[in-house]
Symmetry: C2
Subunit: 305 residues, 2 copies
Amino acid sequence: MSILVVGSVALDSVETPFGVRERVLGGSATYFATSASFFTDVNLVGVVGEDFPQEHTDFLTSRNIDLTGLSKVPGETFHWKGRYGYDLNEAQTLETHLNVFASFKPVIPEQYVDAEYLILANIDPELQMEVLNQVKRPKVVACDTMNFWISSKPEALKKVISRVDFFIINEGEARQLSGEVNLVRAARKILDMGAKNLIVKRGEYGVLMFNGSTVFAAPAFPLEEVFDPTGAGDTFAGGFMGYLANTGNVTDEGIRQAVVFGSVMASFNVEAFSLDRLKTLSYPEIEARYRSFKRMTHFEGVSEL
Amino acid sequence: MSILVVGSVALDSVETPFGVRERVLGGSATYFATSASFFTDVNLVGVVGEDFPQEHTDFLTSRNIDLTGLSKVPGETFHWKGRYGYDLNEAQTLETHLNVFASFKPVIPEQYVDAEYLILANIDPELQMEVLNQVKRPKVVACDTMNFWISSKPEALKKVISRVDFFIINEGEARQLSGEVNLVRAARKILDMGAKNLIVKRGEYGVLMFNGSTVFAAPAFPLEEVFDPTGAGDTFAGGFMGYLANTGNVTDEGIRQAVVFGSVMASFNVEAFSLDRLKTLSYPEIEARYRSFKRMTHFEGVSEL
């Protein structure tokens, strides 16, 4: 089953202790879509400016990502500039130029309105709601946000949360949104807002998924070389939803395995700048790392691994 | 098989956002021994002053902890005073009074020198080496340390590390000892010092265990109420070694299960001040939480859980 992704397509300038890259391919929808494309067909809705290089369009198309919904309009593409220190856990934003993204009004092409799997990447929650209202009856909706929307549009955001199956945010955002330091209490408050499941991303510490009755904890894959964490969370969500859409298995076990595939995808993505690692990634590598995750986490039945 | 624990027995004054406790039972050997006592017999070697309350001695004895090796000498008991902020991950030490602990020279009673399971809690690495030299042929040796010894006696510490099976330290200590920010590289360097296995404690994020060929990741149990993290690492190590000594199963699977039992014990310990939670804990509660850990981490065979 194909996935519909709505979010940003950007040109990023990134500085880490391991190097600098200027105006490379970025954006939440880009990472989501590319990651999900390893598992299923992806339809992308977003906007770029006239400066968006053809090579990036070609790359996305080569991943079988349908770009019918990607508008090219006069002006410059959304540009984000950030820096990471040695701990690589948090980006320091140096510049944000919304450019053509400032007036982005997502219009879902007619052929996408029956989408069953929908990812609302980090955009204005009012726009996320407009997207939700355009898609007829999605089976699974995942949604991300950021600190800026939590503080500036909490009520609009809560309306979106009440309609999503998987609300996927980072640890600091979960604490900010709930006003609770303790993550278990924070999760309960956010589930009370109506999200069916909450996935809390903790960077190098992995993810925790909460729903009404269970908790699932998945570690991050311990890597010797982390070059650029940009897009790790979006890549996680793309792998997660891609796997769900591929299998259609939304049982507890199917969802957990999707979390692990999301973690696998994120672990690859941080191994190089921008989407460079995903550009060379193969499905057998993904499967091998999934098996490594199982060896790394299971403590019963280990001898069979 | 019984365990020999050598380390500190203390009176702690602790302040957390949830309350204050003055001169309550503490010390690394105390937490280790009490935690391990749920799984096997424990022999404790340490020192206290004349002010050490009889009720604490009675409690330890009630847990079947043999105190033949606990000297009571003129002077005051080791006293630590610390404070935790809301994130509860790191203690701020306000006062350390070594008192009788300053001249502690561990002498292993004759009936303990055949110990097969040995825990070297956080003391001067030169003293840890003296203990190692007094115990004839331990089957499994676990060892902890702290930032103070890493910076002041690195060479003595490295000699100890080269003789231990499980070196158990926290994340910051692993980075400090190795000079590596990246934890995978840090682990490799520490294993190169001769430790057979390295267990890295990450507080609320759980533990990572490294050896030459594999990594095992266990989350911390997500708790709604964390009152006092003091002794969590020692309680972890006590449960870990206690379970190993109980089963004698030092296969990869047995060791992983021991890590989970250690995590279970630590998760209980932080639910109340001092050792208060361990005082009321029952073995069925431990087993139930072990099963919860499995439900929380396994993503294949979930339907059988």
